[in-house]
Symmetry: C2
Subunit: 228 residues, 2 copies
């Protein structure tokens, strides 16, 4: 079955404390985004990879690919105003029936096992997202600035890749935009299709802060040491 | 005002995939727990530090302290069956009026700023805990294996040190044990005293998995490079 991978890299990186958008920051000598693309390409060299980038970043990205000799074939779609609009732009490349993975460009550490499990499950159920348990206790905030304990075992943290049958995802993205669309699962669910959850890998963090970047660099170095 | 610091290190580390309990695993050449003690000692060299350790680990810890020339004065209390029982044991050392911080032994990266803010706020409100926002989207699990999106902005992740006026904490720990006591805030609240939240520092992670340990090692190395 045809496999599409949409890598969403629309972020401007304002939380990173760095002028360079976080998807371009080098870890282990190569930009975050290149690691992310390589993860999917290594798992399935025939996957059809679409990178969604703001137009303003595309020439810089092409230069990086040339300089660093990026070996991952991919096409580029224009980023939009929100994540929803970016993904919708990317979906214009989805012309064959198959499965479509949507993945955050700043999650370079998704495991091959999770990619494989998500594609397999999406083939069965039509819509799947990887989740992990919460590591800290949580509290719910009240309206008056107070807070009360919440049971963390009732919740899971959501990762990507979120993978869908192409007809389900394309149909869901016909809906008008809503600010309630925080990820692809929420778009698909709003269209009436239920989403299955499966176990993600804990290392698959979203690089958001300078601390995350330090983590990422350490993880890449460790993988190099271990010959991965 | 007298300041007590109770460091809780009762864990057996079963999630760590390592026979050595995680508080003893070396990062930057010294056990996690020693880093944690040093954080508080560096912030206030007059703080009265009580380390709560299972009896079975105490001779090993004393040996480590001697070998590594630990410079942090501290006394040792016996760990109990649960965190609640461990903290209650530690509270037997709290004999003067003052403020009592309770901190996870496996959170070596609390910042001096957060320690200071928590002590200051506890002096005002009587009970304070540091919290940070959630970095991932979350979903709430239903009873039938289904799940639905939850608004992560309604929740915060809870860290330590949790700091209290000694009379408030001692009184709360007179209550009989309940499995609902997941941290000290929940014990104090069950006793009818409200808890204030303030901003924690994002790096103050609880070292739980091998990936966390990798993060910790990287962070310690980085601090050494930067002369911290």
């Amino acid at each position: 079955m045809k496999r599409y991978v949409l890598i969403v890299a629309g972020g401007k990186g304002s939380r990173m404390g760095n002028d360079l958008p976080k998807q371009f920051i080098p870890i282990g000598g190569r930009p975050v985004l290149m690691h992310t693309l390589e993860r999917f390409h290594q798992w399935d060299t025939s996957a059809d990879i679409i990178l969604i980038l703001p137009e303003a970043h595309q020439s810089y990205w092409n230069m990086l690919c040339e300089e660093l000799n990026c070996q991952v074939p991919h096409r580029i779609a224009n980023g939009g105003e929100t994540r929803f609009h970016s993904v919708r732009n990317g979906l214009s490349f989805v012309v064959e029936k198959g499965l479509v993975a949507v993945h955050d460009g700043v999650r370079p550490f998704v495991s091959g096992e999770v990619i494989g499990n998500c594609f397999a499950e999406a083939g069965e159920s039509g819509a799947v997202i990887p989740v992990v348990s919460l590591s800290d206790s949580i509290r719910e905030k009240g309206e008056l600035g107070e807070s009360h304990p919440a049971d963390r075992s009732r919740f899971v943290a959501v990762q990507t890749p979120q993978i869908f049958r192409s007809d389900i995802l394309l149909d869901a993205y016909q809906q008008p935009y809503s600010p309630a669309f925080t990820d692809d699962a929420s778009v698909v669910e709003a269209n009436g299709f239920p989403v299955t959850t499966i176990s993600g890998n804990y290392e698959n963090i979203k690089l958001t802060t300078p601390f995350d970047l330090l983590i990422a660099e350490a993880y890449v170095q460790k993988q190099k040491q271990c010959g991965l």
